[in-house]
Symmetry: C2
Subunit: 346 residues, 2 copies
C-alpha cells in the first residue's frame, strides 16, 4: 500500500484489514496493551482495567480550523491529536490507559499519509502508557481526527472547581510558543524550529498532573484556549478571582524575543497544552522538588483571590493589563473567514 495510491483507490476495508494486521492483537503483555482482551478489528475493543475511577475525554482536531494544510506532517497531526486528548487526562491527574481514534479523510488522501498519521497515534499513545484499541475511518471533505482517551485515577483527581482564595497559580513548561508559531504561519512565514515544535509536538503533562494531584493540588486545567481564557474557566468553576503577573509568564527565548507580542502570546496564545494548577500555599516551598518529579519546570505566575476581586493580568508597575481577547473560541463571532482565529502577528 506504499505505492502512492489514495485511500479512495484502495477502499476502506482493504485499508483497515491491513491496518488491523499491523496494529494486531494480542499485544505485548508487558506493554500498554496488557489489559486489552480484544484489540482493533472487532465491533468493540474489550479491556479489563483495574478497579479504579476512570477519566473520560474526547477531542477533535479539524484541518482548516485547528491547523491549515502544509503546517503539519501527517505524523505530527497524529501526535497532536493524541496529545490534545492526553492533556485532558493530565489535567485531571489521570494515568492514560486506552485511546480510540476516529479519522475522517478525503478520498484523495494518500494511504501512506493515513498510515503515518495512525502509526504516530499508536506510538504517541504507547509512549504515554496507553493502548490504541480502536477507531473509525470514514470519508469527508476535510481531514479530522477525534481522539477519545480513557485514563485511571489512582487518588484524588483535579477538577477545575477546587481552587480557593490564596492558592498559588503554577504553570508547567512555557507559554506562547504555539500561538507564536500559528501567527508566523498565518503571516506567510515558517516558525523557528523551537516554536514550530511547541505547536506540532505538544507534550501532555501526564507526570505533572499525577504528581501535583498526589501532592494535594486543589485544581487544574489544561491550557488549550490560552492562559487567560482557561484561567477564567478555572476561576468560574471554583468561584474565585485571580491575579496573574504578566512578566512572570514563562516563555521560550524565541517568545521572549517578541517583547510585548510575546507576552500577549503567553497570556492568550493557546494551544500550548501546558497545565495551570492551583496549589495550596503550603506547597510553595516544595515547588523545586515537585518540578523534578513532574519532569517539567513549574513557574508560579500568580494567586487566587476572592471572586469579588475578579481576574486580573498585572504588569510590572501593578497596572491591570488584561487584554480584550479571551482566547480561542471556535464559534466566536469575530472569527476570520480563513477558518482560524484572528491573532496579532508579530
Amino acid at each position: 500500500l506504499s505505492d502512492g495510491r489514495a485511500i479512495g483507490e484502495i477502499g476502506e476495508h482493504a485499508f483497515l484489514e491491513r491496518l488491523c494486521a499491523r496494529f494486531g492483537f494480542p499485544a505485548d503483555p508487558s506493554g500498554p496493551g496488557r489489559s486489552v482482551l480484544l484489540g482493533v478489528g472487532d465491533d468493540c475493543a474489550i479491556v479489563d482495567p483495574a478497579r479504579r475511577p476512570l477519566a473520560l475525554t474526547t477531542d477533535a482536531l479539524v484541518e482548516g480550523v485547528h491547523f491549515l494544510p502544509g503546517w503539519l506532517s501527517p505524523a505530527e497531526i497524529g501526535v497532536r491529536a493524541v496529545m490534545v486528548s492526553l492533556s485532558d487526562l493530565a489535567a485531571m491527574g489521570a494515568t492514560p490507559s486506552y485511546l480510540l481514534a476516529a479519522v475522517v479523510a478525503p478520498n484523495r488522501t494518500p494511504a501512506s499519509h493515513l498510515d503515518d498519521l495512525l502509526d504516530a497515534c499508536k506510538a504517541a499513545s504507547e509512549a504515554a502508557g496507553a493502548a490504541l484499541v480502536g477507531g473509525n475511518l470514514t470519508r469527508g471533505d476535510r481531514l479530522s481526527i477525534t481522539v477519545t482517551a480513557i485514563g485511571a485515577v489512582a487518588g484524588p483527581w483535579l477538577a477545575r472547581s477546587g481552587a480557593r482564595p490564596g492558592d498559588r497559580l503554577v504553570v508547567t513548561g512555557t507559554l506562547g510558543g504555539a500561538g507564536a508559531a500559528v501567527a508566523c504561519w498565518l503571516a506567510g512565514g515558517e516558525p523557528a524550529p523551537a516554536l514550530r515544535d511547541r505547536f506540532a509536538r505538544p507534550q501532555a503533562r501526564i507526570d505533572a498532573g499525577r504528581t501535583l494531584a498526589a501532592a494535594g493540588a486543589h485544581a487544574a486545567i489544561d491550557l488549550s484556549d490560552g492562559l487567560l481564557a482557561d484561567l477564567g474557566h478555572l476561576c468560574a468553576a471554583s468561584g474565585v478571582g485571580a491575579h496573574v503577573e504578566r512578566e512572570s509568564l514563562p516563555r521560550l527565548a524565541e517568545v521572549a524575543a517578541l517583547d510585548a507580542a510575546g507576552e500577549d502570546f503567553a497570556a492568550n496564545g493557546g494551544e500550548d497544552y501546558e497545565l495551570l494548577v492551583a496549589l495550596p500555599e503550603s506547597l510553595r516551598g516544595r515547588l523545586e522538588d515537585l518540578a523534578t518529579d513532574c519532569g517539567v519546570a513549574l513557574t508560579e505566575v500568580g494567586r487566587c483571590a476572592p471572586a469579588a476581586e475578579g481576574v486580573h493580568l498585572i504588569d510590572a508597575s501593578g497596572r491591570d493589563r488584561r487584554p480584550e481577547r479571551r482566547g480561542f473560541d471556535h464559534f466566536a463571532p469575530d472569527r476570520g473567514s480563513d477558518g482560524l482565529p484572528e491573532r496579532s502577528i508579530p
Copy 2:
C-alpha cells in the same frame, strides 16, 4: 438561546456553558448517571464503573457521507449517531454505561439545532442506560458527530471470530429498510414512514446481544455495511464459510413489496443496525423463547460452513445469487461524487 441565532453568533463557550448547566451534574443517583463522579464541564468526566471488562467503540456520522441535508432532523441525527455506536456494544453483548459525543458544526448552524441534536443524544443514551458524560464542540465545514460508547461485559462477549461450521446464522429484526429509504431519497422521493424510521431511528439491539451472548452464541456482528459484507467480515474473522438463503431474509412489508430490489436491499442495503449472530445448532430449538428475551424477532437465515465452501447467497432454486456489490465502503473506488454510495434505485 432559542432566539434563532447561529452557533457562530453565540460562540462556543457561551453555548457550552448553557449546555453544561442543562446537562448538569450531579445526575439522578437512581439513573444511568449513578456511577458518574464528575459529569460534563471539566477537562474529563470521572466515572466509577464496577470491576468488569469494558467494551469500547467509536463511530462517526458525517453529513454528505452518511446522510444528506434534509433527510434527518437534528434530533434524528443525534439518535442515529448514538445508536450506531450502541449497536457496536450490542454486537459484543455489552451493556451501555457511558457515552461521549464530539460534534463538528458549521458556524451557520442554528444553535437550536445543536440543542435538539444533543438533547436527543442524551435522551437516547439514557434510554439505553448510559450516561452522556462528555463531548467536544468544534467548527467545521460539515456537520459530523463522533460518538464513543463504553459498555460493561458481564459474561462472555461476542467477538466476530467465534463462529464454527454448522452454526446457525440468525438476524434480529428486519433487513433492507434503511437501504430502501436511502435509495428513495437519492431518487428524489420521500420514503414511506416505516422505511424512513428504519434509517432515521435505528434501534441498537442491546437486549438481543446480551441475551444471545449469555445463551452461548458463538459470534456476532452488527449490520452496518449490509448483510453480505458484514457476513463476509464475520466469516473471515472466524475462518468459516456460509450459506444464506436469500428468500429467508426478514423484510418489512414495504421492502418485500419491492420484490427483487427489496431482496437486494435486504442482502446489501446496510445501515439497518440489526445483529447477525452465529448460534450453535443446540440453541435452534430455543429461538422463540430467546426472541422473547431479546425483545425482537430472530430469524434463521442460513448456516456456517467450512471455509473452503465460501460465502454464498442462495435463491429458492438453490442457485448462487451472490451479487457483485459488497456493501458500504466509504472509500470504495466506485463511489459517486454525490458523497453517497451508488445504490440501485427501486
